[in-house]
Amino acid sequence: MIAILLAAFVLLCAVVGVMKAGRAVRNAARVAGGDVATTLFALVAPALPRERREWGQAMLAELPHISGRRARWGFALGCAWVALVRPGPQDSSARILHGFVVTGIAASAGLAAYGLVRYPGLRADGSWSVWVLALTVVLLGYAAGSLAVSRGTTPQAVTSRRWGLAGGLAFFALVLIHDISPQAIVTAVAYVSPLAFSALAARSSGSRSTGIRAALCTALLAGLLFSVGLVTGTYLNNGDPYNPGTVLDYQRHGTGDLVTYAVADNLGGAIFMLAIVPVATTLAGCVGAMIGAVPVRSPRSP
């Protein structure tokens, strides 16, 4: 049931995303007067943090004055680099978040490489390259997400990152507690925590978008920490404990040894979780942001 709801949410997000992207391309092409290089930059200029938006307008305004397609493309690509990749001024929350995500990405990639070396059976068929590709795509998504949320030094941006960091760490702590003492209530609290922290972010800033941004920060941390924890645990225990479903599957379809089969199963699960945990936490966080942004009515004076 949860899987169907998540799939429906992802599909809805994809449809909304495609519609928004189409509208953005049309608007950018209109602003650019049909020039492709200018359209490209007009599309990425909004990625600049709010306090840098005027600079985006300045770069955009230069483009129609540059003669020569090559020169215009060179200028537009340089400006796109500034808008998308150059971090701009960062506060400590941005540096901490960025540090966590970069470390998490490096750890995920390193653990995957280590697994392929330690368990040669994982490379027995060609499917491992598909998994590596999937992992690369997901990790690139994390890198892009980190670049997006670690930008900006407005009070809202800083608030969102602080609550988002707290949410991500709380989620991971609760998952660890659940690992030690598996209780349904801990799982429930773990999944409610992104909602609570996003609600607090929205409440403290009075803005829903701050709550949503906090949810995204939480999602990045939660997904990476969860996945790295899962893979580390898998390697430490050689895929043990083997659940009955895995053993049954191995007996029916498995090749090689049970350890490699169980490790492969867990690694597939970790990549899936790397993609699905952020979706689930963002979904919960968006709900929290909506709740937190609802203005509190002050009691009427008699």
């Binding site: 840098r52 305004a61 230069e62 060179g74 537009a76 340089g78 150059r86 001024p89």
Partner: protein
Amino acid sequence: MLRALAARPSEWRHGYDLCLELGIKSGSLYPILMRLADRRLLEATWETDHAPGRPPRHLYRLSPSGLSQAAELAQPSELSRQRLVELRGVS
């Protein structure tokens, strides 16, 4: 960058012209301009009389503190002069 802007201190300059003059790419130019503006060394304004059908461009020039910084950098300080003399003595 400071030297280029200080060469014609009262003149407002366009971003692309600075790129051409200094031989740097826009990906390097704008972060420098942003940092200069953040440190209040650069003044920026929008063109008021721009070509019809084209958006107004952003213009840049050094602020008074930017000009004094540029002048400071252009003239080696007493300390660096002494250091230079020391280095020459060593060699």
